[in-house]
């Protein structure tokens, strides 16, 4: 059973679905951002249930940490939120729309308001710049893409302001022309986050983005999360690092055994958890 506090994750909070935030791609112009919510999500593979009755929401301009031990279903939850597949039960809502109830073309438009970076290395075999601009390119018309490709044959253009802004956010602009294959794991993860940020998403999903990274790269990624929040982006972070959740998040949802057992403001969840399992987990006494 989920324990919820005032300000906890609640899809029916009645809050307005949108807020405004500066748009990094338009030099300070403000663009509406929206919230992402899961309502009663359940999912499984084969005969096994991975997630059961999960409801949570991430609002514009906040960081929600989804914490729980490895193997508890965080990645499955984030893949459902990123619309990789349809949940067996429940709904995923972006700006109040049930995404799986939308026609395919509209669902694509909604999906493009959600960016995601993964735990594993996922850079394409090309330059840093082309990796970061990928999301921008696929949003262009085919004729524009062909024109860009032809122009590319006659010389390399300077990175766009949007790409530059995204790379500066993660502190990687000095590597803009490098081959992605030559980057360290931490640098590659920062570029992957820049790729997710470049199209100026409403929602940013980060699945264990700093696991196995050194402190310098971890700090850079945490800084990028805060920058995204300050731009009004709704940031959801899956992590099993409790200290990181405490450092960066505004609210925390604790998932154990595929169920959200407690959620609320981070300080309250950590300092005075209602659920005894959460208390043991945050104190490092609950081992799964």
């Amino acid at each position: 059973m989920t324990t919820e506090r005032p300000g906890a994750d609640e899809p029916d909070s009645g809050e307005p679905d949108e807020t405004t935030a500066p748009d990094p791609a338009s030099n300070g112009a403000r663009r509406s951002k929206t919230r992402l919510a899961a309502r009663g999500l359940g999912h499984g593979f084969g005969d096994g249930t991975v997630l059961e009755d999960i409801s949570l929401a991430v609002e514009p301009g906040e960081i929600l940490a989804v914490v729980g031990p490895s193997g508890t279903g965080k990645t499955t939850l984030f893949r459902l939120l990123a619309m990789f597949e349809r949940p067996d039960e429940g709904t995923v809502e972006v700006g109040g729309d049930d995404v799986w109830g939308l026609p395919e073309a509209r669902r694509l438009a909604v999906r493009r308001r959600v960016g995601m970076a993964f735990q594993t290395r996922s850079l394409f075999s090309t330059t840093v710049e082309e990796n970061v601009s990928y999301g921008l390119r696929v949003r262009r018309s085919w004729s524009a893409r062909v024109r860009d490709a032809v122009e590319g044959l006659f010389g390399r253009e300077e990175p766009s302001e949007t790409v530059e802004d995204a790379l500066r956010t993660v502190g990687m602009f000095d590597k803009v022309g490098r081959d992605a294959g030559s980057l360290s794991a931490g640098e590659a993860q920062r570029v992957a986050i820049a790729r997710a940020l470049a199209p100026d998403p409403d929602v940013l999903l980060l699945d264990e983005p700093t696991s196995n990274l050194d402190p310098r790269n971890t700090a850079a990624i945490e800084s990028a999360m805060r920058a995204a929040r300050d731009r009004g982006i709704a940031v959801a972070l899956a992590t099993h690092d409790m200290q990181q959740a405490r450092r960066v998040s505004d609210r925390t949802a604790v998932i154990l055994g595929g169920t959200c057992i407690e959620s609320g403001p981070t300080d309250e969840v950590f300092e005075s958890p209602d659920d005894d399992r959460v208390r043991q987990f945050v104190e490092g006494k609950l081992v799964y």
Partner: protein, 232 residues
């Protein structure tokens, strides 16, 4: 005038040109047919997929004389494709070489497509890509393997003897220009006549052609960004 044994420049240029034309056309046709097959098989899980991939792999070992015989029957006057009157033409040779090169190209490119990590497909999808964008990304990521597939198919086609002899007829006009004689079939003629030196000279030209094509492919692969290792 240049001459090596019975060879003259006209003869040499024309058999080289026929070899290049037939092999290049066959590989282009194989690529047009084979790459979509590789993507379709590589992208989807379906019942009997392992059987399909086994059949494709088996195709790499097709005996060329058997393929030549089947194409001969198909193109003969009484065969199903007899009305096109293609027998003993370069186009008949292109057909038989396509049949021989296609399984090589599909098998190697399928392996390349399947080796693109699922993580990269997910990343393309998460960045807002459609299924077409993801497919293009996979082709781009697999380009090293696809070039290798093209080179392997080219090697299979240009070194072919048995089927092109059967369906091409090894025809040379009286002015020494080749109609369906290739470098490989010319070598068999020279060997039969006992002109070993001439055969070796033709073999050297054939090897130089294969080397040149592979060098072009290697140049393309070496210029590919993002191949400098996975981490520092």
């Amino acid at each position: 005038m240049f001459a090596l044994g019975d060879l003259n420049l006209t003869y040499l240029v024309s058999i080289t040109a026929v070899s290049l034309y037939v092999s290049t056309a066959a590989v282009a046709l194989s690529a047009a047919l084979g790459l979509p097959i590789s993507l379709a098989v590589g992208f989807r899980d379906f019942y009997g997929k392992s059987v399909v991939t086994s059949v494709i792999s088996t195709g790499m070992g097709f005996p060329s004389v058997v393929v030549g015989l089947v194409v001969l029957l198909a193109l003969s006057r009484s065969g199903p494709l007899g009305t096109f009157e293609l027998l003993f033409t370069p186009e008949a040779m292109i057909l038989s070489q396509t049949i021989l090169a296609l399984p090589v190209l599909v098998s190697v490119s399928l392996s390349a497509v399947q080796s693109v990590p699922q993580d990269l497909r997910d990343a393309a999808f998460a960045a807002g890509g459609t299924s077409t964008d993801v497919a293009l990304l996979v082709v781009r990521e697999a380009r090293y393997g696809i070039v290798t597939a093209l080179l392997a198919a080219y090697g299979r086609a240009i070194s072919e003897v048995g089927s092109v002899l059967i369906v091409g007829g090894n025809i040379v006009f009286s002015d020494s220009t080749s109609f369906t004689r290739t470098l490989t079939t010319a070598i068999t003629v020279e060997a039969r006549k006992g002109n070993i030196e001439t055969g070796i000279a033709l073999g050297a030209i054939l090897l130089a052609l294969v080397l040149g094509v592979n060098a072009l492919g290697a140049r393309f692969r070496d210029r590919t960004p993002g191949r400098n290792g996975r981490g520092r």
